[in-house]
Symmetry: C2
Subunit: 355 residues, 2 copies
Amino acid sequence: MKIAQVAPLREKVPPLNYGGIELVVSRLTDELVRRGHEVTLFASGDSETLATLEAVYPRALRLDPDVSDYDLYEMLELSQVYQRFAEFDVIHSHIGVMALPMASLVSTPTIHTLHGSFTPDTSKAFSYHQNQPYVSISDAQRKVDLNYVSTVYNGILTENYSFFERAEEPPYLAFLGRLSPEKGPQNAIAIAKKSGWTLKMAGKIDEVDTEFFAAEIAPHIDGEQIQYLGEVSHPQKVELMGKAAATLFPITWREPFGLVMIESMATGTPVIAMNLGSVPEVINDGVTGFVCENIDEMVEAIPKVLQLNRQVCREYVENKFTVTQMVNGYEAVYEKIIQQRIESNGRIHAAKIQY
Amino acid sequence: MKIAQVAPLREKVPPLNYGGIELVVSRLTDELVRRGHEVTLFASGDSETLATLEAVYPRALRLDPDVSDYDLYEMLELSQVYQRFAEFDVIHSHIGVMALPMASLVSTPTIHTLHGSFTPDTSKAFSYHQNQPYVSISDAQRKVDLNYVSTVYNGILTENYSFFERAEEPPYLAFLGRLSPEKGPQNAIAIAKKSGWTLKMAGKIDEVDTEFFAAEIAPHIDGEQIQYLGEVSHPQKVELMGKAAATLFPITWREPFGLVMIESMATGTPVIAMNLGSVPEVINDGVTGFVCENIDEMVEAIPKVLQLNRQVCREYVENKFTVTQMVNGYEAVYEKIIQQRIESNGRIHAAKIQY
């Protein structure tokens, strides 16, 4: 199959540190190439991939102080993609709304993976193009009535996550993620204080969250019970999660997927999470963690989580959330959509318009 | 001819007060209808037009507190336009870069009028699509190498601008425009103070300019020599300009056109302007005003401007900057581009892609 993968340009593929979408695109693209597909990856020029790389800009936009309008470069990237539409059997966009108007003008089908949540403005744009084929990354994400062709869960390479047979002594709770209100580090602190457990937090602080961090998080950090380790590398993250008794996922928003949950379970560490968004789909409640309704339930889950089998957590991820399963899911979607398009149009490609 | 006109959505067409692009689109659209063309105007739903109105949103976006992402709605509007491309002989976009990726995917030609100036980011986007047909609104605007098919100056309906045979006594200078650094109200004040003349200013203060206004403009307003009349209606504007001895246009940026200059000359009032952007194309130097290199030259021009013939100023606009001439210019562009497209493709419309 000739496949175009279209990544955002903010981070390189794969990302240096944080960048969930770019990580998923990287794993998907490389595995598709390994399976024999002819893949062109549209991404920032510093990306590393097994596919043919096409870059509209030499660097990840976040690293370039000369660039102020990110959307404009992603629009240019989409121009590049769609002017070459006839070269591809399928275009897979990870960009969101911006690809919609172009996608509906060409005969090559575009699959749109929804990586984020809907805003009132983006809901209108998606609804206008509701017949385009969408992939949700959890069933919970389907808040707007669209033509969802499948849910394909994000997957990780489990070999990049060491398995930890037992939690470290003395035991502690882990929190990993952006230190932003929607990820709930404030809840993690409340849970630690109510339970008396040690909490080790790591993650980046976005500029928009500096006030929140200063007011709600920093005053509680004592380096003893409440520890903040800053931004950490992948190996540090794996160790921090893997040695924890439990990872907290005390979100306050409808997380569309939540990679941290599967990363933690892959290391053997169960997850205590708030019942929002994808959480009940990603955690096997009572087996690989606990799905809770409030902070008190999360506190009560701590002694119970110690009874869970860490090997089962690992196997659960291996059976459900690997790159292999993710790519199986997308391959099936591509085949289905191409078949549908051939049936409705009698061909995949329209004659190329000359200009 | 079947023509789609695509307006921005920030203001209605025509605009309530400020909104140069929306005013030009309104005049152009109505005159095209009067000449027998079949015109569809894509604009905000509160627009008033002789054409068939198609609106993706019921109100001008600026008036709607629920809308935060303007680009998204203009993208939706463009979706609407380009899904119907086969219904039109020509699409005329006043939106800027956002129309480019879609325009190059369909067989109906799009004419892009450049209403603004280039930024480093937009330059890249335009350059990528440099073969699209562009109309500049002054020759001076052509700072990026593109396929410019014509310069079509903006035009006004001179019947909406009363002619004033003589300036009011005691005489004063007028400044009209946004109170922002690039429009140069600070220079207007300097000119008034150096010359001892009275200055009457009117125009809106954008939110981004409130600090500038407070620091650079407000301290000089004394209600006597330096007067600020706030935002004014069209009749008030015409009177303010028409009764002035001269209108100042002391810009600090490369104005792509500058409607205020032709509005002032239409009332009979010559313009003293800084030599930037379109200024030497719009003013007949020494006849309908003076094109100056600095503030001192603008001060020295004041006694000279009193010698100019106000009737000549009026006739100059009537001969060069009316809606009639503007529409003549665009009609010629449409015909030329459609002809070119037929010659290169053998047809205007591609088969419509079904999906």
